[in-house]
Amino acid sequence: MKSVVGKKFRADRSKAAGPPVEPGQSGSSPISAPVSSVSQTEVGAQPPASGPEPRSAFRGTGPVDVRGPVGVARPVEVAGPNLSVRRWLGGAICLHFLLIAAGYLAVVRPSSLQTRLVDGFAAYLRVMHWVPEPGAADAEAPAEGVAFFLARGAGLERSYRLQFQGGTEGQEMQWYDAPYDIGSPGSERRRRHSRFWAAIAELGLSDQNALAARLLSPIAQAYPEVKRVRIIRLPNLMTNVVQDAESPPYTASIVRQGDSIRFVREPIPRLGSAAIP
């Protein structure tokens, strides 16, 4: 039990901030006593008492009240882990926040050191989902890394829609929104759809047509009447005339032969000089 008592230290830092206690000096006041007790435990490196550690860290008998009558915190002793656990935890905490900071700060243009650090600890950061995946933060996945939400809100966030053509009797040449529920405006459901379509749009803009087609294949299979498909970006108050006049980032015709489906990418028409004011 003695060693457990020796692991106590003051929780109230205002009280603990008393005169420094020299190593080896016995604290005479109730404030300095726990500090010297910590030293003794660390130097002696006594193993904790056998048996389970008490759940409650409050010592003494009677009801516990951490607040005084006027709301001032009383000095309350809280048991801490032993020295080796403290050291191990301290190192782990430092490393943990170092890695998370590196992952978070690699948002605009990560340095090679940041990249190496995050990649080197990918198992830890990704298995436990401590850092976002590229492109998770806003609808347009920037090539240079993960953009934190609010980090680059310079009109970058756009609303995306998946549109079909064909299958609607009498309106064979009309584009219409994909006929399934994507959730109400502002919902997580709609945001997930928008991220997915943004990913396809990005692939289309970078001419990775096979990959875009791969992502769209399950949708095309679910809607056999559809003949063409496209991803559009909706204009908003932050977009300018040129951006609003841009062609959809991905448009493709669907060729069906039996069970197989092929997507034929339709080239994006270049803007003519007339479109530029």
């Binding site: 951490v66 005084g68 995946e133 680059r152 809100g153 997915f196």
Partner: protein, 284 residues
Amino acid sequence: MSEQQTRSAWDRFWFGEVGTGLTLRPLRIGMAVMAIAYFASHWADVGRWFSGTGVLGSEALGQFLLEAQLGEAVRWRLSPLYWIESTWILRGYLVVGMLLAAAWPWVRITRAVGVALWLMVVGMANRAFMISGLEELVLVWGIAYLAIAPPDGSEHWTGSLALRLIQVHLTLWLVVTGLTMLSAEAWWEGTGAMALVAPAEDRRFDLVDSFSGTILLEGTTHAVVLVALVAPVLLWLPAVRALGFGLATFWSLGLALLTSQFTLFVGLAVLLWAFRPRGGSTSA
């Protein structure tokens, strides 16, 4: 100052906080509600996304990653849901997750419920490759830290550790958000707030017209940046902690309204409760 005293201050910071049981209970309840909302938000689309014939079904996603040579990107995104193809089993996973979240604040005899809930959220977040966002991050680290604390609210050094981890992580989040905002021109020229509300089709509330006034628009923009940069300092100064707490909470709830990112920003507001000023306590 001796080495032992330095170490002692470090130990007091991480393991010596008091009153954590009372502080962490509202956080646990709040994060449980957010977790239920998160699992519920997947209910309607879980089959469309992740079932065998889903858009991101295991086979389709595997083919895509193979062709895109993105295997390294998902190598560590581990989740049991990659092996599940049935929509009903996927929904069963969501039900279990919601039940765990509902039970978490009330089961006070074991940490197992919190740990299990954390694993369920991590599994869902890792499975939602390409469609997950920042809301998963807040849920994951919030629940992870809270699961460390004693479930019965008793005073124990693990409660102190959990509280400090939440506080430090929140501070880091605010600082990073504030600093990275400075890299975008919109936050300097006063149009950042408009950028948040502009995609009105994807917002719960259309607030575009509300920002027709220049002073309101630019004032809101500058306030969003200023609070993100100043609040992390105020929150750690006992004398002005109440002000920092109020500003940061208002910031989070305001951004939830502007961006409709309710899970993310309300989750942050819940976790900010870790900084709730306690009358007379001088601990930072």
